[in-house]
Amino acid sequence: MITAQDKILHVANKLGLTSLQNMQASTGAVYDVDTELSGQIFSQATRHANPSVTNINENQFEVNEALLVETIAFYVKNNAGATLNFQQVYGSSAVIVFDLVIGNKRVMKDTPVFAAGMPYSFANAGTQTVPVGEETRASYVPRHQVYMEGAGVLIPPQVQWFVQYTIFDLVTGAQIAASAETSIGCYLFGTKVLLNFNTSI
């Protein structure tokens, strides 16, 4: 069984990053929203407000920092800055089809995220919602996450990454356009490596 730490060190060794093993292990997440409606997330993070839209200054980690991506999730952000559930905005038949690109390599390929709920990420409880013109009632609010099989995929230090996505309607097959009020956001969560000066200064 390969652990997250094993995988990070294996990739670091392959890339010749000999000092990564001396850095601080941690847990981390990066997030960003495609407010430009360009179909890419993270690639324009440098222009976005921090932390209301993103928590990174650019879409690459600094020296000796890295993230082993173990969960990828999608959400919607409106103009008021609220984080909303993808299904609650786009409806049950919407689907996001996305790629995760690290450097010049596509590491997640044409991966669907279904509005009706993804494999492994069922909601544990329902919620009370009041759609316009209807009475209050309970419903499931599904999750829109991809849990990576195995140990995940590493974003190494100083390598650019981005998520490329398109939204479709599963029933008609038509593409759905996002708007400023329904911008798509994404977070990448997993084992983080933080720069640790203790061994070098």
């Binding site: 390929k109 494999p119 069922f122 995929v153 479709f168």
Partner: protein, 196 residues
């Protein structure tokens, strides 16, 4: 044997060892307006489907690509985009055929959806209940969960071997919207890597 080892073992046995990018792979295919029928076959026809309805163009993985199926996922949507019970809760079975071999045979799906409440494992216990018995669902009020079955044995789809998923019932009512099947798991995708 881990999923990584099993994939390498099977690919190696077939003489197609792969050094592709290891990743999480989800394949999906949609059947539009299935109506009432006794059998639906996913990953057989790709004609007229957009990239939002399937992420394959043929019923096999590319050269140097393979995957381990960990989970089968099924959802039925109406033309009004409402998530419905697959086949209207009728008793149904799913089979996966890889090459000329049936690798999952007549596995019942109806226990893991709707109000039948007998999900195969604790992770999916909520899939077996309907959360609101008083009203119909809407596109935003989802009263069911999609069908999801986590397999306890890793099933390998090797490179360039045809596969399909069959859903069988006695005249299941699948409606005029769409039924979607997704296979999720660990896989390898082609990586030019050292070869270009």
């Amino acid at each position: 044997m881990s999923q990584v080892s099993k994939l390498s073992y099977v690919d190696g046995k077939l003489g197609a060892p792969s050094t592709g990018q290891q990743t999480t792979r989800i394949l999906f295919n949609t059947i539009e307006a299935p109506g009432t029928t006794s059998s639906l076959t996913f990953f057989r026809s790709f004609q007229g489907l957009t990239n939002g309805q399937t992420n394959l163009t043929q019923n096999k993985l590319d050269s140097m690509e393979s995957m381990v199926i960990k989970t089968i996922w099924l959802a039925q949507l109406s033309t009004a985009d409402v998530l419905q019970a697959v086949g209207a809760l009728a008793q149904q079975t799913v089979s996966i055929i890889v090459g000329n071999q049936t690798v999952v045979k007549n596995l019942p799906i109806h226990f893991n959806q709707g109000s039948n409440g007998q999900a195969f494992d604790r992770l999916h216990e909520n899939a077996g209940v309907r959360i609101d018995d008083t009203g119909a669902g809407t596109d935003l009020v989802q009263i069911f969960q999609p069908v999801e079955i986590r397999l306890v044995t890793d099933i390998v789809i090797p490179p360039q071997v045809a596969f399909e998923v069959r859903l069988e019932s006695n005249s299941g009512a699948y409606g005029t919207g769409a039924v979607v099947c997704a296979l999720s798991g660990y896989g390898k995708i082609f990586s030019a890597g050292n070869s270009f």
